[in-house]
């Protein structure tokens, strides 16, 4: 060995790296790749995976052959008799609700998070302020759902134990049934999501703000820019990569969101989101084919955002 010029490690064959990777590949294959392909396969089968999905077609009804489960997943919630009803039912379907969640929750968490991140930098008790906003993040979704369930509680009798309705009735107005009023209930649920996730966005954005060089800010202020201008023309462009990452992460989070809706309304009263629908089809209706079809659609919707996130990450890595 001693007279060998090249160390053994440099002469590794083609096989060696695979050996090192093997444990990871086996684990990934078993827990991610295999279930993924099974899911895709099942989504083309009937309710218990014993026959192709096309076998479930009924004569005289619309059918997409082997894509029958996808027909169900995509159109069953819609009333396609006219364009107008299609449009209306789309916005109360799980897809429409998920879009509402993305629109309001992502803008809510990122907007409020950024707002607090900027403000918190300027106060002495920064750590305390951030800790308070971050705190809900430590509560599980289920816990948050239960807590907010009490906030929104609607008592059918004279007593209102719900915080909001206690305030409303205390002011002399009529109590409102937050959870069963279509439209308002989805917004009420989104508020819970914002409450939980704002702390996360704030923390990440605050860290990015710290990396904005003080000299540039100074220079801008010396040049006469007001704080508004400094924020929009200096800070935001510099932390834009982080904002993008936070936004895509939040979109992925929201697409997968399940717990809040499940705990607070069970997906009833027109609050169902895609992940809830998947659960309902799988574990309440026991229809594996339809459940997995919804799951596949969800994955397909998430992929672009994962791709964006990874690309952004690689770009950042390359800059280092």
């Amino acid at each position: 060995m001693a007279n060998n010029a090249t160390p053994q490690i440099m002469k590794q064959g083609r096989l060696t790296p695979w050996l090192y990777l093997a444990p990871a590949i086996i684990v990934m294959g078993f827990f991610i790749i295999y279930p993924m392909f099974t899911t895709i396969w099942l989504s083309f089968q009937n309710r218990d995976g014993t026959q192709p999905a096309s076998a479930t077609c009924v004569e005289g009804r619309p059918c997409w052959g082997m894509f029958e489960n996808y027909r169900y997943a995509l159109t069953a919630e819609l009333n396609t008799s006219t364009i107008q009803t299609t449009w209306q039912t789309f916005w109360t379907s799980s897809y429409g609700n998920t879009i509402k969640w993305i629109a309001f929750m992502v803008s809510g968490t990122v907007g409020i998070g950024l707002f607090f991140a900027v403000l918190a930098e300027r106060v002495k008790y920064e750590a305390l302020a951030k800790a308070i906003i971050f705190m809900p993040m430590a509560i599980s979704f289920v816990g948050a759902g239960v807590i907010w369930g009490f906030v929104y509680d609607y008592g059918a009798g004279d007593k209102q134990i719900g915080l909001l309705n206690a305030i409303i009735t205390g002011l002399g107005f009529k109590p409102m049934a937050f959870m069963s009023t279509p439209g308002a209930n989805t917004i009420a649920l989104i508020v819970v999501g914002i409450w939980i996730w704002t702390g996360f966005c704030m923390t990440v954005l605050a860290a990015a703000l710290k990396s904005v060089p003080d000299e540039i800010l100074e220079a801008a202020r010396v040049d006469g820019a007001n704080e508004w201008r400094v924020f929009w023309s200096v800070m935001v462009p510099i932390i834009m990569p982080t904002i993008t990452v936070v936004v895509t992460t939040m979109v992925i989070n929201v697409l997968k969101l399940f717990d809040i809706v499940y705990v607070m309304t069970g997906g009833n009263y027109g609050t169902e989101v895609i992940a809830n629908r998947m659960y309902t089809e799988m574990y309440i209706n026991f229809n594996t084919g339809r459940g997995t079809a919804v799951a596949v659609i969800l994955v397909v919707l998430i992929i672009p955002f994962v791709y964006l996130n990874i690309r952004r990450f690689l770009e950042q890595e390359a800059m280092r």
């Binding site: 951030k130 289920v142 059918a156 049934a177 996360f200 710290k210």
Partner: protein, 452 residues
């Protein structure tokens, strides 16, 4: 300083991510109770002492030898299992049969046993399993079941393709309305005996300034089951048990005018704040347990709540000072031509002397009486009627004896998401949606599930 703060924050992030990663497990655990079997059906007052059953002399061992083994599979545990043991004890004493039970609520476990070719000798399960395992089951007539002790409709339910495969051992009728006798007396109300009387009573209550019903049905992702129970009871009044069985078999589509009429009867009460606490919103958002309490709290918010037998146990738990019979009581839905509820069926996979002895015993007079005496819900065995020690059970047994049919819960019996479609229809109707469209939706699911 800044670095340290960041460090702390990142630890917090990781910690909270672990926390939130753990949360799905909690979701599973907090699942809403399954529709009809809600909290374990504990009857109002427990029988104080286990009554002696000394019927050993009348037990026919069918040639079973001492030490013969009967393997069993059932979904009872704890208190329920004790009662079953108590019921079987006379047989065990008389014939020396050894019972080897296996207890699980997981039907998949039974499926696995059956598919593997090693089924238990006896399974106590739901009526749907009779159809599922019809090719493997030994007919009750071959096992010497005493059919004289069972009304014809019970045998009909247990008969699949012409052979009687299942012995009904236990029934839990839920065609019940709970009320406070004290409050009824204070206003001079009488327990109604016909549907018309019930409607008149409800109107009279409204005229007196009382709210007749507490129809709250919120139950997480199972919201609506209380409503579907009520609607099925209305169907039993207006159409009868054969009609309900027709819905289950798919002969009658769910958007039939009869069903629509039942929804309208229900909706007239369930969406009117004069008739139910909080009107439609109250029905949608009041938890089904809270709905029970509203009738028995002081002061009461409503006069009656339509709920299964478990309501008695819930009232006893919530208001320990209230006594069954004086402070709370129930009556059967007046005018119902049949009952609805859960039932357990005994099915045999093997024909051995010990199995025959067991079938003969449970279908005999002695078996029916010891079942009734043990207070394990109500036995369909008509010989049991004289042996109940529990007033509430006796009342249910009398209802059962007078019934002309027994229907399982529609939503539980029709597969393929019918139950949740039914609930969705009720929710949409009470939220002001179009009833015809909602019922057509359910009918589609029904047709699809039953391949009609």
């Amino acid at each position: 300083m800044k670095k340290q703060a960041l460090y702390l924050v990142s630890i917090l992030i990781i910690f909270s991510m672990i926390l939130s990663a753990c949360s799905p497990a909690t979701v599973e655990a907090t699942q809403a109770p399954e529709a009809t079997q809600a909290p374990a059906a504990t009857q109002a007052p427990e029988p104080t002492a286990a009554p002696e059953t000394s019927a050993a002399g009348t037990i026919d061992c069918k040639g079973a030898q001492s030490g013969d083994v009967v393997t069993m599979f059932y979904q009872w545990s704890g208190n329920e299992e004790e009662r079953l043991n108590q019921i079987l004890q006379p047989l065990v004493d008389a014939c020396g049969i050894v019972v080897q039970p296996e207890s699980s609520r997981d039907q998949a476990l039974l499926d696995t046993r059956v598919q593997a070719g090693t089924p238990p000798d006896i399974a106590f399960f739901n009526v749907t399993q009779l159809e599922q395992y019809q090719d493997l089951l030994v007919p009750m007539t071959d096992l010497g079941a005493n059919e004289a002790n069972y009304p014809a409709y019970w045998r009909e339910i247990g008969t699949i393709n012409g052979s009687w495969l299942g012995l009904p051992v236990k029934a839990d009728p839920k065609t019940l309305i709970w009320y406070s006798p004290v409050a009824f007396e204070a206003f001079g109300y009488e327990v109604p005996t016909t549907w018309d009387e019930l409607e008149a009573l409800a109107d009279k209550m409204v005229a007196d300034g009382n709210v007749p019903w507490s129809l709250g049905m919120e139950s997480g992702d199972a919201t609506g089951w209380t409503g579907s129970d009520f609607i099925q009871d209305i169907l039993l009044v207006t159409q009868g048990p054969d009609y309900v069985m027709g819905l289950i078999s798919g002969e009658i589509p769910y958007n039939d005018p009869g069903v629509k009429q039942a929804y309208e009867i229900y909706g007239r009460w369930a969406s009117d704040a004069a008739y139910t606490v909080g009107g439609a919103q109250g029905t949608l958002e009041t938890g089904f347990l809270d709905a029970i309490y509203l009738v028995f709290q002081d002061p009461f918010a409503a006069m009656m709540v339509k709920q299964s037998g478990f309501a008695g146990g819930e009232i006893a738990k919530q208001y320990p000072e209230l006594a069954y019979g004086t402070d709370y009581d129930f009556f059967g839905v007046p005018g119902a031509q049949g009952l609805q509820g859960g039932s357990d069926w005994m099915m045999a996979f093997n024909n051995t002397p010990a199995v025959q002895a067991l079938v003969a015993y449970l279908s005999s007079e002695a078996g029916g009486q010891s079942w009734a005496a043990a207070g394990f819900d109500v036995t369909p065995n008509s010989a049991g009627i004289s042996a109940y020690t529990d007033e509430a059970l006796l009342k249910k047994a009398e209802m059962l004896a007078n019934a002309t049919g027994f229907t399982p819960d529609l939503g539980d019996t029709i597969p393929g998401g019918f139950g949740s479609a039914e609930w969705a229809a009720i929710i949409s109707y009470l939220s002001g949606g179009d009833l015809d469209a909602a019922l057509t939706n359910v009918a589609d699911v029904q047709a699809e599930a039953l391949n009609k």
